[in-house]
């Protein structure tokens, strides 16, 4: 057992040495650090606490809980596979930012108090912004600024909530709370911004798809899932989360159905999947919390896989719109196959990771007799197959032949995808190790005849619905308006209007001032100008006359 005196996530921050090491050190650093972090997380004893006095606060930078260890594990795995995927392709800045991103996420998941959580939370936002920035396109830079604004706003709300909570209770401990005061509502709101909850859900699909192929893979894993972790720790069983989660679930499906950009489809699907987890946290039973944690673990792996497949296509073709793609299975058979494994996993087909995790959530709803929630979850599961499970592989790799014949991606990308595809199937075939890591003891067995039949019927008929309605699903060159319209268009218009109004006012004022100055000028010219009374030349004779008159007057006045 190792008892380190620092948060294990900080190990990943050593990646900032990247510019100093040569080519040989590159691989050692970017692949070694995630593995070292993983080893460190697992070598620490359960319930290990590291405390630190700082400015009068008793901080707990490291607290090993079962939930935290689960999230830290999958974050470290993701960092390793993400680094392998971007090994040669990601820029040094992107690689460093990506691993710092992972380190911050691990920092959050092992945080023992609200202050530590907040510090890593903000580092997460900053490093994500840098990952986006590293894509080095105008669109990505703009998206990164919008991303930063949304997350700084979320961080501010969170900080306000934490401050209020600390003032009211005097405690910074990371304990379950209820949304029963303004401070706690702010805390909940701040956490939910990062989860992609309404009304700010749009940041997910606005920012992630603008990153580079490898950048999106990094980003997809950390921010939303650290929010899931924090919600599990702080607001388990908060009923409002059920509604929020269900909204996110259907929001993701509807927007993904309308979307044309393959990586935006998958970004909307992140919101959808996090919706399942948030709903589960709202239900709040042991089964539900287990389901949320297991689903987050499984989700990071299959979503990473799907985005890696999409990234491979983007890397080789430079195209991202479904309308430009299609028929790629002919020249990218491995990418297609691995992408399909990810698609089946997100759809929760039997023998994949989604099947053994998502079913715990609907089971929890059934156990609590939440009929409407259960029906919504089942409909949502069918919808996942519709919008991500079939739509993504179909429009990218099959449908019409686009005539594109790109080669398979480089070996490191293929290996990264293979590792995660193996992970999806391994969890599906043998869920016991994952179940053993969950926060509560598991007495749930996903492979019952009834469950298998129910899930297969649901998915197969959802598939039938897809192909029956294929003409309705024809892709169009469109985007769909979202809440981001308010800050991308409405505010812009408003400011344009204000500028316009104020410049009009300025013009009127200027005109009035000019008019006044001109009037003064005219008056001066009239009275003091060349032709004015004062400037007129007078004959010398009249001068002499007037002097004579004055002298006569003086003589008269003073004559005694």
């Amino acid at each position: 057992m190792i008892e380190p005196m620092f948060p294990p996530g900080l190990v990943l921050f050593l990646v900032v040495l990247l510019p100093l090491v040569g080519n040989r050190g590159h691989g050692l650093l970017v692949l070694g650090l995630p593995l070292l972090t993983l080893a460190l997380v697992w070598s620490m004893p359960a319930n290990y606490l590291l405390t630190l006095s700082f400015m009068g606060l008793e901080l707990t930078p490291v607290s090993i809980s079962a939930t935290g260890r689960l999230f830290a594990t999958v974050f470290a795995l993701m960092a390793f596979v993400g680094a392998l995927y971007g090994y040669r392709q990601a820029s040094k800045l992107e690689m460093a930012a990506g691993l710092v991103n992972a380190g911050s996420a691990i920092g959050v998941s092992l945080a023992g108090d609200l202050i530590t959580l907040f510090v890593f939370w903000e580092l997460l936002a900053l490093s994500s912004t840098l990952v986006l920035w590293a894509a080095n396109t105008t669109e990505a830079r703009r998206a990164s600024m919008r991303y930063l604004l949304v997350h700084l706003f979320g961080g501010m709300v969170l900080l306000a909530g934490i401050s209020g909570h600390v003032v009211a209770t005097g405690s910074i401990a990371l304990v379950p709370l209820q949304a029963d005061s303004v401070a706690h509502w702010l805390l909940l709101g701040g956490l939910l911004v990062n989860a992609g909850a309404p009304p700010l859900s749009a940041w997910v699909a606005d920012s992630y798809p603008e990153a580079s192929p490898s950048g999106t893979v990094f980003l997809s894993a950390f921010t939303t899932k650290t929010a899931v972790f924090a919600l599990i720790m702080v607001f388990p069983g908060e009923k409002v989360l059920i509604g929020v989660g269900l909204y996110m679930m259907f929001y993701g499906i509807i927007y993904a159905l309308l979307e044309n950009d393959m990586r935006r489809i998958l970004a909307y699907s992140i919101v959808n999947q996090v919706g399942f987890m948030v709903t589960a946290i709202g239900i709040g039973t042991e089964m539900a919390i287990n389901g949320a944690a297991a689903h987050a673990f499984a989700h990071i792996i299959y979503k990473g896989l799907l985005l890696m497949a999409a990234g491979a296509v983007l890397y080789r073709t430079g195209k991202r719109k479904c309308t430009d793609l299609g028929g790629l299975f002919q020249s990218m058979p491995w990418t297609t196959l691995l992408g399909i494994v990810g698609a089946l996993s997100i759809s929760a087909f039997p023998l994949t990771s989604g099947f053994i995790s998502k079913s715990m959530i609907s089971q929890a709803a059934a156990d609590q007799q939440l009929v409407a929630v259960w029906l919504a979850l089942v409909a949502g599961s069918a919808g996942v197959f519709l919008h991500a499970g079939i739509k993504f592989p179909w429009f990218v790799f099959f449908q019409k032949d686009s005539g594109l014949r790109p080669p398979e991606p480089p070996a490191n990308m293929l290996w990264a995808m293979t590792l995660f595809a193996f992970g999806c199937l391994a969890l599906g075939f043998y869920p016991a190790p994952l179940y053993a890591m969950l926060p509560y003891p598991v007495s749930y067995s996903p492979y019952t005849g009834a469950h298998l039949v129910a899930q297969l019927q649901l998915l197969l008929f959802a598939g039938l619905a897809f192909f029956v309605m294929l003409p309705q699903m024809k892709r169009t060159l469109t985007i769909s308006l979202d809440f981001d319209w308010f800050y991308r268009r409405w505010l812009k218009r408003l400011s344009a209007m204000l500028v316009d109004q104020s410049s009009q006012g300025q013009q009127q004022w200027e005109a009035a001032a000019r008019h006044r100055i001109e009037r003064l000028n005219r008056w001066l010219v009239k009275h003091l100008g060349l032709n004015s009374r004062f400037a007129r030349g007078l004959p010398t004779g009249s001068m002499v006359l007037w002097v004579t008159v004055l002298l006569w007057l003086l003589l008269l006045v003073f004559y005694r």
Partner: protein
Amino acid sequence: MKGERRHWLVRSTTIRRLWFGFLLVLGLSLLAGLSVHQHQFIGIEDYFGFFGGYGFLACLVMVGLAKLLGRLLKRPDDYYTAPTNSLDSSAQSTASQRREPGDD
């Protein structure tokens, strides 16, 4: 790919066979439903083909809803990037019109 021949997967005979196989699997999944007993908790999930029918209907509704919302929300995909947008920049165009006379 052998010359001009189409990939076996996109030939119409293969696609017909795939549809046939798919429908067969659908039928089998319905039949398999007869052999298991779903836990009764809302009372209808043990009906014949409940999950298939519910999944199918749910998908129809979701696609329909998406189509409806799409009418309201869809915009050309250069909506935010295009420098001037004829569809939507009424405020900006009037703004620029208003500015022009003041400039001279």
